[in-house]
């Protein structure tokens, strides 16, 4: 059993996962409100959303820990809604450290194989290979309390992969780790996932994590999927104002529709993408900080309200005469031209922008 055979074994079994009209209420709160979502074979799909949006409930339904009030969970077209958790064939990595404290790393990884009555010698070999796969070949004899947080999550990942599951479920596995470990581990999870070609559902509330790891990202809100698309599309063409606000930074500037597909904002006319609005309607124009230009101009009405150093760029918050604020990124080399209180002119490049109804806040 080598990594390459592991890869093969997983690749042939990559599964399609489908949520159909899942609904679940906990008392007065609606956790899932008719969730529809399909995860393609071998894909890493991130479920992104604020806390309480139902993403964890959805994952737990796939794992078999929660049951929907209505709707179905399908794996490879087969309804698994009634299948108990231990027969779901889904490996899971939990948010909190979930290793069995009484077993060492090797036995933790071998736990599932022991449950499947695999012979001791074989499960030992396989567990050792999995530990090697996550880079902990020399830590097999360590107990969980002797491992760092990052190491524990690696062992948990190896344990989740031990039964060669058809689906891998990651429930915010990185949120308890510090920033540096997080970045390395997320790259490693992605590498492993791609090598094994295993269908993966990844829960996170961290947009950077979702955008950098996932093939597709599903943004959830109030128990429904707002938008499910590739990270690039999600960022550049958000389907709703919520997605626009949740993914990346967005400023809202009031504008008036000049025509069905042109909006007048900040003193100039720019094309509109997506759904426009009727001519003459008052709208909010959504602007990314990298899509806004600022120039020092003693005659202009805008003033720098704050600056934030982000490394290569500096984010400048400009307060416009009408009171609303626009964020703009400038190269840090030029940041000295924009001290707080300085007057600046705000401009837009000739790019299409997104507008939302003024009421849709």
């Amino acid at each position: 059993m080598t990594i390459s055979t592991l890869v093969k074994a997983a690749a042939t079994e990559a599964a399609t996962v489908e949520f159909r009209g899942l609904r679940r209420e906990f008392g007065p709160t609606v956790a899932l409100d008719g969730l529809d979502l399909t995860v393609q074979p071998g894909e890493l799909l991130a479920l992104l959303g604020p806390s309480g949006c139902g993403k964890t409930t959805a994952l737990r339904m796939l794992a078999g820990f929660e049951h929907p009030d209505s709707g179905q969970v399908l794996v490879d077209g087969e309804d698994v809604t009634g299948v108990p958790a231990h027969r779901r064939d889904a490996g899971m990595v939990f948010q909190s450290y979930s290793l069995f404290p009484h077993l060492n790393a090797l036995d933790n990884v071998a736990f599932g194989l022991r449950m499947r009555k695999v012979r001791a010698a074989e499960r030992r070999t396989r567990a050792a290979e999995l530990l090697e796969l996550v880079g902990l070949a020399d830590k097999g004899e360590r107990f969980p309390h002797q491992l760092s947080g990052g190491q524990q999550q690696r062992v948990a990942l190896a344990r989740a992969l031990a039964l060669r599951p058809r689906v891998l479920l990651l429930d915010e596995p990185l949120s308890a780790l510090d920033a540096k470990v997080r970045t390395t581990l997320r790259e490693e999870i992605r590498r492993l996932q791609q090598e094994l070609g295993i269908t993966t559902l990844f829960i996170t509330h961290d947009q950077e994590e979702a955008l950098s790891m996932a093939d597709r990202v599903a943004v959830m809100r109030d128990g429904r999927v707002e938008q499910c698309s590739t990270p690039t599309e999600l960022y550049s063409r958000p389907a709703t104002a919520f997605v626009a606000g949740f993914v990346g930074t967005m400023s809202r500037v009031p504008g008036v529709m000049a025509a069905g597909d042109t909006v007048e904002v900040l003193g100039r006319r720019v094309p509109v993408t997506g759904d426009g609005a009727a001519a003459g309607a008052s709208v909010d124009v959504l602007l990314r900080p990298e899509g806004v230009e600022v120039e020092p101009d003693p005659e202009a009405g805008g003033r720098v309200a704050a600056t934030a150093f982000l490394g290569a760029t500096t984010r400048i918050t400009v307060r416009l005469p009408d009171g609303c604020e626009v964020k703009a990124d400038v190269s840090t080399r030029r940041a000295g031209e924009f001290p707080v209180g300085a007057r600046v002119a705000v401009g837009l490049p000739d790019q299409a922008v997104m507008v939302v109804d003024r009421a849709a806040r």
């Binding site: 794992a63 078999g64 820990f65 108990p84 958790a85 231990h86 027969r87 779901r88 889904a90 490996g91 899971m92 939990f94 909190s96 979930s98 290793l99 069995f100 404290p101 009484h102 077993l103 060492n104 090797l106 036995d107 071998a110 736990f111 599932g112 022991r114 449950m115 499947r116 001791a120 010698a121 499960r123 030992r124 567990a127 004899e141 948990a156 344990r159 989740a160 031990a162 039964l163 479920l169």
Partner: protein
């Protein structure tokens, strides 16, 4: 630092005096034959009528009580933690009741039922049950009574153990590794409750070995009752037995503790 040490030794010395003086007095009393020292009282114990049977009975009762109370409480408390955490205060109060109800009231209730039962049930098969649970060779009714009396201690010991681990995550992790519910409980939760289970067993063992009121009033004769019974006739030997039973209990607790202190055998490593 030196002052703190002095204090520590002082407190330890006082506590030692408090425990050791009566113990030493007992030992002296049991070996002092007026003009000479003799361990006669100790050597006669094993041969005395009723010693072996009463001690064995007490140990059997203790084992049965521990088994029953753990079988009852462990699944109940895990279920409580996973399924109905809001019911915890209710269960806590119910489990603490035996501390409030004096054993004398408890046993009065039991004996009333035992007297009333055979008359009322004489024409039903339950009559035989009533007789069977009072079998003097192994009085099941005592086990039932002891289970109730052990509830407060067992509840507290298990509660402390369950607080220290994340039961839900452990169970779910085991389930996602292909373990059924009983397997998850036995292989993922119980091994991590070992300390709590041992504590509960300790307390129950000590309770059963030393219990007198209920056993005596129901007319059974486990170890504690036997000691009191012989003290009237053979004062010196009854003290000798008390000292010995103290040592026996100690040895058993130490044995249990030693058993619990060992690292668990690692299933994969040990076989593979």
């Amino acid at each position: 630092m030196a002052r703190l040490n002095l204090w520590r030794w002082g407190v330890l010395g006082l506590a030692a005096l408090y425990f050791l003086v009566p113990l030493a007095a007992s030992v002296v009393f049991s070996v002092d034959m007026g003009d000479r020292i003799s361990f006669d009282a100790y050597s006669r114990i094993a041969g005395t009528d009723g010693f072996v049977t009463s001690l064995l009975l007490a140990l059997e009762l203790a084992v049965a009580t521990i088994a029953l109370v753990l079988l009852l409480m462990v699944p109940a408390m895990v279920a409580l933690r996973l399924g109905a955490p809001k019911l915890r205060p209710v269960v806590e109060i119910v489990c603490s009741l035996p501390l409030v109800v004096p054993p004398i009231a408890f046993v009065a209730g039991i004996s009333t039922v035992l007297k009333w039962g055979p008359e009322y049930l004489s024409r039903t098969p339950l009559f035989q049950t009533m007789v069977a649970i009072q079998n003097p060779d192994f009085p099941v009714v005592l086990v039932l009574a002891y289970v109730v009396m052990a509830l407060p201690f067992v509840y507290r010991a298990l509660d402390a153990g369950l607080r220290a681990i994340d039961v839900r995550t452990l169970v779910e992790a085991a389930r996602s590794c292909g373990a059924s519910w009983p397997q998850a409980l036995l292989q993922a939760v119980l091994p991590n409750l070992r300390g709590a289970l041992l504590n509960a067993s300790f307390l129950t063992l000590a309770l059963v070995l030393g219990e007198y009121t209920v056993a005596h009033l129901l007319g059974f004769r486990p170890f504690a009752v036997w000691i009191v019974d012989i003290s009237g006739a053979q004062a010196q030997m009854s003290v000798a037995v008390s000292v010995l039973s103290l040592l026996v209990t100690w040895v058993m607790l130490l044995a249990l503790a030693a058993l619990g202190g060992r690292r668990p055998a690692t299933p994969t490593a040990s076989q593979g």
